[in-house]
Amino acid sequence: MKLFRQLVVIGLLIAAFLAIDFSIYQFVIKRYQNHISEGMQAKSIELAEYLPFDENSKVVRVETDVQLTGDLPVLDGAAALYPIFSAVADAVYPQDSVAFDGRSFTADSALQFHNTRGSYQAIVDGTADLIICAKPSKEQLAYAKERGVELELVPIGNEAFVFIVNSENPVDNLTLEQVRGIYSGRYKSWAEVGGDNYRINALQRNEGSGSQTRMLSFMGEEPMKKDPLGFLGRSIGFSFRYYVSGIVENSGVKMLSLEGVYPSKENIVNGTYPIVNAFYAVYRKDDPNPNIPILIEFLLSEEGQRIVEESGYVPIR
């Protein structure tokens, strides 16, 4: 009998640790695992798939008489908008101005990729001349001001800001009030917004990323809160439409309609989707590079806007 009790205690102890290990796997590790390439993990986008001048590239190609020479502006920008600035390099830059080592662009390449945070730092520090990004965050503007740099933002296209959930989440639509309520902590359960009885895990992005900046602006004065036990429930996150539907294309997530309107390209154009924002070509006002006005003119031209549209976004003109 004593041996039986001892074996039960040992068995229960092993079962308890197995339960803890399983929970860590189920609620943490399994969710962190990316079933995507190393390149995608490192850069948020597969740079090689949209390389300029590469015949197998997915990059949009347009015919134009504009060809830059001389002091070439260094291009950089957000992951979600990389297909655009890569297509711009393909259209108007000399082929030998772009160098890619298989993982990143080399230091002397006129095309660079540092994502939104890195790009805003690069343009202020002077290592990039023109970046394609969403609006800068307060911190990024403060950094520019601190360095005495004034930024010029030229809108070149529109994009929908979207909310995403697991494709098995029964919720397909939220109102703007519900989204604010979820992120401010007023709604804690999906059941309160038409879903099933799971906690809401409202995910945020890194400070300074384009989508986090947009989300903070959407929330206005309402502070965002996190439910420490949210990981036990169903998640919601935010991003930009084409990054979700065109670049990542993960069938495990779906975009939500807002106020009954799905974030389709048509609904961005007809103005019915409620959160649409411009994205910008950004440069320093004091940058004397004569190719910058040429690039801006090209981006707003018929060919430049065709790059925006055929890359999957909505042109500004």
């Binding site: 004593k2 041996l3 001892q6 074996l7 205690v9 040992i10 102890l13 092993i14 308890a16 640790f17 803890i20 290990d21 860590i24 796997y25 609620f27 943490v28 590790i29 399994k30 969710r31 962190y32 695992q33 990316n34 079933h35 995507i36 993990q41 490192a42 948020s44 995403i164 959930v165 697991n166 494709s167 098995e168 989440n169 799971y198 895990n201 995910l203 992005r205 990981f231 429930g233 169903r234 998640s235 919601i236 996150g237 935010f238 991003s239 979700v244 990542v248 993960n250 069938s251 495990g252 997530v253």
Partner: protein, 45 residues
């Protein structure tokens, strides 16, 4: 099973159990920076 052997077995199970938890948490921290919000939502609920 003698009392001494029982205690040793319990301590061994606890040590191995804690080790497995630490290893899993360390692995989670290791892969966390490469995780994307989209993958996190798709892999969970």
């Amino acid at each position: 099973m003698s009392e001494r052997m029982f205690k040793t077995t319990i301590l061994t199970v606890i040590a191995l159990g804690l080790l497995s938890v630490i290893a899993l948490v360390a692995y989670a921290y290791y892969i966390q920076p490469d995780s994307s919000i989209i993958a996190y939502i798709a892999n969970g609920r």
